[in-house]
């Protein structure tokens, strides 16, 4: 540290000039602006995807197909899945990556700021393309979010521009955007860490982001290759996947799931990171087994790449393949279990503070454990064959994605909201949001399990009246989830506009990002990056994280007092 820093009364640098709200609507290269752009865009599409979910559950509240036309229904569930995955969950996680990675490792920005902005602006572009497919002749894609041939290579109306073609183009652009993002995140984490921050002093969120983005780099190109071949079959008359032309439809399933299974880990790994960051803060204890939690992420990456066939045990794959992939899939529960035990060990006898972020974490963990149990059931070949393509699979999947991942994302938003907006969110609204989400999610997704075991197939708009009871419950849960978004949006907007001013460290958390003012200046630490001298999560140990920590905190407090 330079003596100049020690005496500098203006440290950290005063906020730069362009802090106008208009910067969120243009091409901006600041990762903190891009992060918020990602998150707000993602929630815009979340509302569209959610509206489609409401239509689906509205249709399913009665056994008869009486709300929408069957073909329209096919389009609606296809678009619901596609929007929620490619336009909500990946963008919202990239938003968190943009906000958290540079501030957590003490970098001024991402490694490639312009590439970062381009990657973001692709999202509204392919998003519009996907939404536009509602208005082309024949409507949007209707072959499910996985677009299996031969259904996905039908083009009954014969138009060159059709819903399925637009779907494939949008997914390809989404892949380009994700690859740009992944190259950027990996380079930033590998090359731009603060002095003293070795890999084993890095926050777990950065470990999980590194693991998840590595998966993107390995998996996405396979999907892109497979999607290009599908587009050729659909639009240019080749027969890669058409059995009558010598092709193989199962080949597409390999390509698709080689990426789309790891994609689930791309989603859940950062959420594991969020759990690992938040449980120590709100339990006032160091993260239990930090090294094992960090390394488990990469074991999950390795195993996650060799389980994809469990998605199509029923597609005529050889028995040896079924056995192999069943065992691999079950093995994944070992590194995942290590993490769950580490979180329990962290909470155990901690000084718990049940704030909104902590409640979302606890709820998310509860749902995740349940999803893990049904996951091991599904990995078992005989069980899987019995419940394949039923609501059991839909229930399992939504417990992972909504019950665990989305709840973890909400936890992260409430936790880091003060840091990046400079305002405190309201606890009352937050707790109401948690209650509605937790009850709604369980009421919505738990009944899907008995439905699946009874044999109700997914992707149907009418069903036998014997399934009515559980479907009514599920629909009521879904409507509760629909309502749950109101206190969230109300909280975010009103807190940002006129919430109480946030201090630099409202939760008394440990981490480089909490040694910055709220909101941080454009170049974060600028020239004064602190030197990291210990592992993260030193709660209750009294050990400082960085050199001169007391001085940095004193300066920040003085600055807040004078503001």
């Amino acid at each position: 540290m330079t003596p100049e820093f020690m005496t500098s009364a203006t440290f950290p640098a005063s906020p730069p000039e362009n802090r106008s709200w208009t910067r969120y609507f243009g091409f901006n290269t600041d990762a903190k602006v891009i992060g918020i752009q990602y998150i707000v865009t993602a929630f815009f599409f979340f509302l569209i995807g959610g509206l489609l979910a409401m239509i689906i559950r509205g249709e399913l509240i009665t056994p008869a197909a009486d709300l929408v036309d069957r073909t329209v229904y096919n389009g609606i569930y296809t678009m619901h899945g596609t929007i929620m995955l490619f336009l909500f969950i990946f963008p919202v996680l990239n938003g968190l990556n943009n906000l958290l990675i540079p501030t957590m490792i003490g970098a001024p920005d991402m490694a490639f700021p312009r590439l970062n902005a381009v990657a973001f602006w692709l999202v509204p572009i392919f998003g519009s393309l996907l939404i536009a497919s509602f208005f082309v002749p024949g409507g949007p894609a209707y072959s499910g979010w996985w677009s299996y041939p031969p259904v996905s290579i039908q083009n009954p109306l014969g138009h060159f521009v059709n819903g399925q073609g637009l779907w494939l183009t949008a997914v390809a652009l989404s892949g380009v955007s994700s690859i740009m993002g992944a190259v950027n995140f990996v380079t930033t984490i590998l090359r731009m860490r603060a002095p003293g921050m070795g890999f084993f002093r890095m926050p777990v969120f950065c470990w999980t982001a590194l693991a998840a983005q590595s998966l993107q780099l390995i998996g996405l190109p396979a999907l892109t290759g497979g999607a290009v071949m599908l587009l050729m079959d659909l639009s240019f008359g080749t027969s890669f996947y058409q059995a009558e032309g010598g092709g193989d439809p199962v080949l597409y399933q390999h390509f698709f799931w080689f990426y789309s299974h790891p994609a689930v880990y791309v989603i859940i790994l950062p959420v594991f990171g969020i759990f690992s960051e938040l449980f120590p803060v709100y339990s006032r204890k160091p993260l239990f087994g930090y090294v094992y939690v960090s390394l488990a992420s990469f074991i999950i990456v390795g195993l996650g790449l060799i389980v994809w066939v469990h998605h199509f045990f029923t597609s005529g794959v050889p028995q040896w393949m079924r056995n192999l992939f069943m065992v691999n899939t079950m093995l994944i529960s070992v590194p995942t279990g290590v993490k769950v035990f580490a979180w329990l060990g962290t909470i155990w006898r901690g000084k718990l503070r049940l704030t909104t972020p902590m409640l979302f974490c606890l709820g998310g963990l509860f749902n995740f454990v349940f999803a893990g149990i049904t996951g091991v059931m599904l990995a078992t070949v005989p069980v899987d064959i019995h419940v394949s393509n039923t609501y059991f699979v839909v229930g399992h999947f939504h417990y992972v994605i909504y019950g665990a991942a989305v709840m973890g994302i909400f936890a992260a938003i409430y936790h880091w909201f003060p840091k990046f907006t400079g305002r405190m969110p309201y606890e009352g609204l937050g707790k109401l949001h948690f209650l509605l989400t937790f009850v709604g999610a369980n009421l919505n997704f738990l009944p899907m399990h008995p439905l699946g075991l009874m044999g109700m197939p997914r992707r149907v708009s009418s069903y036998d009246p014997e399934f009515a009871f559980w479907n009514v419950l599920a629909s009521l849960g879904a409507f509760l989830l629909g309502v749950s978004i109101i206190p969230f949006l109300l909280n975010m907007v009103s807190a940002w506009v006129r919430g109480p001013k946030a201090p630099h460290n409202p939760w008394n958390a440990i981490g480089l990002e909490w040694l910055l003012p709220s909101p941080p200046p454009e170049d974060n630490f600028g020239e004064h990056v602190p030197t990291v001298i210990s592992r993260p999560y030193g709660y209750g140990t009294g050990e400082p994280l960085v050199e001169n920590q007391a001085e940095i905190e004193r300066q920040l407090t003085l600055q807040e007092a004078s503001a």
């Binding site: 700021p113 590998l190 090359r191 860490r193 002095p195 390995i218 396979a222 080749t238 010598g246 092709g247």
Partner: protein
């Protein structure tokens, strides 16, 4: 303050470009891996691999092309060595030679395509052939374009005085395209019997 943290706050951080590019190339190789494994799977499981009237691929001309492409990996290495020694005219000469070899490869590929008896839609055989060679050809064309860009940049005074990451990245990309071609040549032209 170490080199990793004293970065300016805005604009690209030039010393990370190569890292980013290498990560991108690793990722890009998986697309080819997907195409190669798809090709192998379709070929081994096919009942009638060759379309009616086609009895295999002519390999002599592609072999000449292979020699051209492999030697261009050598010339680009020589160009880089010249640059490292500060010999800019030597760099330009070998760089231009590499571009010429790349262009010749593309020409050879086009001639081969022109003389074939089957098309893109002639079953899986035609589809995979044109997909693999076409996708690889696209990479060769990209490589030649990037080399052109670097050549133009070399005329900016003092631009390459301290070495140039763009040149390193382009060269890396060219070796990558070369390795992919060797695998592709073995898969498509050497492994003809099903």
């Amino acid at each position: 303050m170490t080199a990793t943290t004293g970065q300016p706050a805005t604009g690209e951080h030039p010393n990370h470009n190569l890292t980013g590019f290498i990560i991108f190339l690793c990722s890009e190789s998986v697309i080819f891996l997907a195409f190669f494994s798809g090709f192998a799977l379709l070929k081994t499981s096919a009942l009638n691999w060759l379309p009616a009237g086609v009895d295999g691929l002519e390999w002599r001309m592609p072999l000449i092309n292979t020699v051209v492409l492999v030697s261009s990996s050598g010339t680009i290495w020589l160009a880089e060595r010249c640059m490292a020694k500060g010999n800019l005219p030597g760099f330009r000469a070998f760089w231009l030679l590499t571009m010429a070899l790349g262009a010749y490869f593309l020409y050879g590929q086009a001639v081969e395509w022109g003389g074939l008896q089957f098309g893109f839609t002639s079953g899986v055989f035609g589809g995979t052939f044109y997909l693999l060679t076409g996708f690889h050809g696209l990479h060769v064309a990209t490589g030649v374009f990037l080399m052109g860009l670097m050549l133009v940049k070399s005329f900016i005074p003092q631009n390459y005085a301290g070495g140039e990451q763009g040149v390193q990245a382009t060269s890396l990309f060219w070796h990558f395209v070369d390795v992919i071609w060797i695998i592709l040549f073995v898969l498509i032209y050497v492994w003809q019997r099903s």
